[in-house]
Amino acid sequence: MKWTIGFMMVCSACGTGLLPNKAPQVTHVNGTQLQMPIRGYGQLPGAFVTPGQTLIFQFEINEPSSPGYDVYWPEPLPGWHWEAETLTATWTVPDVIVDYDLSTSMLIVDRDKTDPRFTQVYIPLEQLYDEDEFVDE
C-alpha cells in the first residue's frame, strides 16, 4: 500500500500524481455509494445466493475524461446478462450450479489508448448451502 501512495514527485501516474488520467469510477451500485479505498479497485459486499434467485446490479459510472469507456465481464457466470444502455447486470442463479466459485469481476476500461486506465469491481458471491447437506453419517 505504501508504494502506491509514495513517490508523489516522481511516480505520478501510479495514481498519486497531480494530473493523471483518471480511471472511470463506479460511484453507486443499486443506489448505494461504493467505497473504493484503493484507486481502481472496488468490491461489493458479498452475497449468498440460491438457485432460482435473480440478482440485479444497477451501476452508476462516472468517466471524467473522454473518449469514454467499455465494460467487460471476464469469465462471465452462466446466464449473466449485461445491458449496456442502462448499466444493469442481471443474473438468475441456475438450478444446477456447476462452478464452486461464483465470484465475478467487472472491468471498466478507458478508451484512451495512449494512457488507458481501468477500474475493477469485484463481486463476491457464494452458494448458500442447506445445513442438512453436511450432517455426518
Binding site: 501510479c14 467487460y72 469469465e75 462471465p76 464452486y100
Partner: protein, 279 residues
C-alpha cells in the same frame, strides 16, 4: 525481506497493474505468441523422460523453434523460477528444436536432507504424527527449473512461453498428468464478415470450471478472452463464447482455446480451429 524492499520501488508493481485487463482482452493474434507450454509429467523421476509441447500462434509459421531449459545443473539441485535466468546464456541449454519434444534429464545429486532434518529449529515437526512410513517423494529432493519454448521468425520476431518442471533426484516414477483429456472445439467452418458466430468447447473433466483462454486472429469476443464453465452435459464441461467478425475480414480466421492447467492442478490442453470468412 528483500522482496519487500524491492517492491517499495513502484516499478515492479507498476508493471503488473493492468493484468486483469490484459488477461481478459489480449486475445488477438496480432503478434507471434507462445500461449501454452505443457509437460506430461509434473515431476520427472530418475531416469524418466518427459514430453514437452507448446502452442505457437502467429500469422505465419516460425522459422525455428527451440525448447530450452534454464537453471538445470547436472548433478546439482537448483530452484529456478526467475525468468531472468534466460538472460545468462551460460545457464540456458537447448534440449530440442521441434515440438513436441522428449527430454530425459541427466541425474541430479541425491544430496537431499532427511525429511525431518530439513526443518530448522523454528519449525518443529509434529511428533504426534506417525512418520515411520517411507516419506513421499518430497519437494526437498527435487530440482525446480524453467522450461521454455522460443520461436523465431525470419523477420527477427520472437515469442516465448515457459512452464516449471520438477526433476526428482530419487527413484520413483510419478503419475503422468492426464494427457489425453478430450477437448473438442466447435466452430462453424465458414462465416461471413460482420457475422457473430457462436464458439463452443467441450472439456472432458466436469470439475474444471475456470481458466479457459480464447485466442482469435481478429474480431471481438463478446464474453472476453477468458471464460468459465457454462453448463454440464453428462460428464463434460462446456464453455462458450461469441465472436464478432470484423466487417472487412476475409480469409482464414484462427480460433484457439487453451484450457489452462493451473486452475486444476492438472495439465494444460488446447485446440485450434479455422473459420473461413467470406467478405
Amino acid at each position: 525481506m528483500r522482496a519487500l524492499l524491492t517492491s517499495l520501488v513502484a516499478l515492479s508493481a507498476c508493471s503488473q497493474w493492468d493484468a486483469p485487463v490484459v488477461r481478459a482482452l489480449d486475445y488477438r493474434i496480432d503478434r507471434p505468441r507462445v500461449v501454452a507450454v505443457q509437460t506430461d509429467l509434473e515431476q520427472i523421476g530418475r531416469g524418466q523422460s518427459v514430453l514437452i509441447d507448446g502452442l505457437i500462434l502467429s500469422d505465419t509459421p516460425p522459422q525455428s523453434v527451440q525448447v530450452l531449459v534454464c537453471g538445470f545443473v547436472e548433478g546439482q539441485r537448483t530452484r529456478v523460477g526467475d525468468a531472468r535466468c534466460f538472460q545468462n546464456d551460460e545457464l540456458v541449454q537447448q534440449i530440442a528444436t521441434a515440438l513436441p519434444a522428449i527430454w530425459t534429464p541427466p541425474e541430479i545429486s541425491g544430496d537431499c536432507p532427511d525429511f525431518n532434518d530439513a526443518f530448522t529449529d523454528t519449525f518443529q515437526p509434529n511428533t504426534e504424527v506417525d512418520n515411520t512410513a517411507p516419506p513421499p517423494l518430497v519437494r526437498l529432493c527435487a530440482a525446480d527449473v524453467l522450461l521454455a519454448v522460443r520461436a523465431t521468425w525470419a523477420d527477427g520476431r520472437t515469442a516465448m512461453g515457459s512452464t516449471h518442471i520438477e526433476i526428482a533426484s530419487e527413484d520413483g516414477p510419478t503419475p503422468p498428468r492426464e494427457l489425453r483429456l478430450p477437448l473438442q472445439l466447435r466452430v462453424p467452418p465458414t462465416a461471413s464478415a460482420g457475422d457473430e458466430v457462436a464458439l463452443e468447447a467441450v472439456f472432458g473433466d466436469p470439475t474444471r470450471s475456470r481458466g479457459y483462454q480464447w485466442y482469435v486472429s481478429d474480431g471481438e469476443l463478446l464474453k472476453t478472452g477468458l471464460t468459465r464453465i457454462q453448463r454440464l452435459e453428462d460428464e463434460y464441461a462446456l464453455t462458450d463464447n461469441i465472436l464478432r467478425i470484423p466487417d472487412d475480414y476475409s480469409g482464414p480466421l484462427t480460433v484457439a482455446l487453451v484450457a489452462n492447467g493451473s486452475y486444476f492442478s492438472g495439465q494444460t490442453v488446447w485446440r485450434t480451429a479455422v473459420i473461413e470468412v467470406t467478405p
